[in-house]
Amino acid sequence: MTMAVTNAEVQKGFIDVRDMGVTFGANDNKVVAVDNVSLNVQPGEFVSLIGPSGCGKSTLLSIVAGFVQPTHGEATLDGKAITKPGSDRGVVFQQYSLFPWLSVRKNVEFGLKMAGVEQSKRNVTARSLLDLAGLLSFENHYPDQLSGGMKQRIGIVRALATSPQVLLMDEPFGALDTQTRVVMQEILTNIWQQFKISVLFITHDIEESIFLSDRIYVMTARPGRIKAEIKVPLPRPRRAEMTDTPEFASLVQELKGLIREESLAAMAPEIKDRGLSGFGMKVGPKGVGEIF
């Protein structure tokens, strides 16, 4: 396989985000999406970013991917400032992003084709990656013939085809059902261990972030700031049974507490607008009642 990992490569893939702020719009319509965020991903580390919806976590990922320029602060990959998208960062999107007009194999080959790799080499790489994803027998199918889980697996190996140093994942399993999700998480950890690649993973699913990550950043509601940084000391390789252990459960508890406050804060204006405050919703400490 062309992307066999050497020790030298393991040292690459260091993402550093420093004092990052993003503001959309101007004057009265100004929205601060992300405010003063600093975070990093060590080479070969799996880091999750978790927070309520609309907290700017996807914006952060867009900056690291190179789609959005920060208003202040900077993001670097291995010391170089990130200014535009590039194949040194593989991106897996929440929406299915396979090209519907290309066969599954041609989709995986796409990045290599753009890099000018010759057809026969592209073919070999794509086939070995599809084999890894367990989808070699579907190489000549079109994406619209496949299920959501299959599409995302192909999306992941397509992002890996150009041997990027980091993988950026924006809620890649958000559209999948729970059973498929759990299987996909296991597949992802396997792939990650094989490739020894740095991953920045965006999610709002607490169990998912614990199961996958070495480290988790919890973000606040808008404007997004880093609220907490939590290490996940669970041993590797991770298995589905681990989710039943007390260690896992206590991590879930801790994260749930942190997220709940932020989710309520994020939803407060909506709840108020819909007149729900009149329903006497008091849900204990840090519940709805406290916010109003």
């Binding site: 789609f67 999107f93 992003s97 519907p100 007009w101 796409f110």
Partner: protein, 318 residues
């Protein structure tokens, strides 16, 4: 008594149709053929009866005013004009089915020869104009769709020129181009161009942004993004534009041919009117219809061949 036995023959036939996709498809095809046959017999009937009932006596037109009564009578019998109309019509239909569209009573040429002579020109002009429409419309549409600056430059012009029907370009076109053929191509091109252009722009705009971002992440440069993501992604809309453009081009082409008085089926049909040759008018119309049908059929076929993935796209009929 079983349920099946209680059904009438008609109900059984209906069941057969709903249960077997193959039978249904054959039935739909047969029905289509029947409709086509009815349409054509209807048109032939119109051709024939108008041809026979016009106030101008075809024999007089053929033989001239000073022909002897003897010659007149012989010609009348030779052409079968002494038989009852319905018999004449049946003979006519038989001849048509044998590929013999009869003689033009006024020009004495076999009508089929007349048609054969004129329709290749029409097809050539239509193909050439649509081709130019694609070559200019698609790249310009992609550029307008993708780049704000190109849009700002071209869109105001497009918005002003678009509502002008292709036919309104005739005087300008005659002055602009050295000969009739070039004018006709230009007018037909105008007809094809705007639907192709606007649908291409629409195709670029309705392309899912995540595909463009995915392309960029995978290392596609701007030009390769255009060629490898935006163009194939817009292809379904481009083909819609092509189908519409072909239709408009066809209308414009026939009208331009009629005005030019030199080429094609349009000219043939118009000339038939000038010569009061009613059967030829209707045959011209039928030819125009059949050729138009063939052109849009070809575009649909090319579309299916070029975009096999659409068979699996959400919302397709499978």
């Amino acid at each position: 008594m079983s349920v099946a036995a209680q059904l009438t023959a008609f109900q059984r036939l209906q069941l057969l149709l709903t249960r077997h996709a193959g039978v249904r498809r054959i039935w739909l095809f047969v029905r289509w053929l029947l409709m086509l046959a009815v349409t054509f017999i209807g048109l032939l009937g119109v051709t024939f009866f108008i041809g026979r009932k016009i106030p101008i006596d075809p024999l007089l037109a053929m033989l001239g005013e000073r022909a002897s009564a003897q010659a007149y009578a012989t010609a009348r019998v030779a052409l079968g004009l002494d038989k009852p109309l319905i018999v004449q019509f049946l003979i006519y239909v038989r001849d048509v089915l044998h590929g013999d569209l009869g003689m033009s009573l006024l020009t004495s040429n076999p009508v089929i020869d007349d048609i054969k002579r004129v329709f290749p020109a029409t097809l050539e002009l239509a193909t050439l104009s649509t081709f130019i429409g694609i070559v200019i419309g698609v790249p310009l549409g992609l550029a307008i769709g993708k780049y704000q600056r190109v849009r700002d430059l071209f869109m105001p012009v497009v918005e002003i020129l678009r509502p002008i029907p292709a036919i309104a370009w005739v005087p300008m076109s005659i002055m602009l181009w050295p000969n009739n053929e070039a004018s006709i191509v230009f007018i037909t091109f105008i007809g094809a161009f705007f639907p192709i252009l606007l649908n291409t722009i629409h195709g670029v705009h309705s392309l899912d942004g995540v595909l463009i971002r995915a392309g960029r992440c995978l290392g596609a440069s701007e030009s390769r993004l255009l060629l490898n993501v935006i163009l194939p992604g817009s292809l379904p809309h481009i083909f819609t534009g092509l189908a519409v453009g072909m239709g408009v081009a066809w209308v414009s082409l026939i009208a331009a041919e009629m005005i030019s008085g030199q080429f094609g089926v349009g000219y043939f049909t118009w000339e038939a009117y000038s010569l009061v040759n009613y059967p030829a008018i209707v045959l011209g119309m039928i030819t125009i219809g059949v050729l138009g049908l063939a052109c849009s059929g070809i575009i649909r076929l090319v579309g299916v061949l070029m975009m096999p993935w659409l068979a699996f796209a959400p919302g397709s009929k499978q």
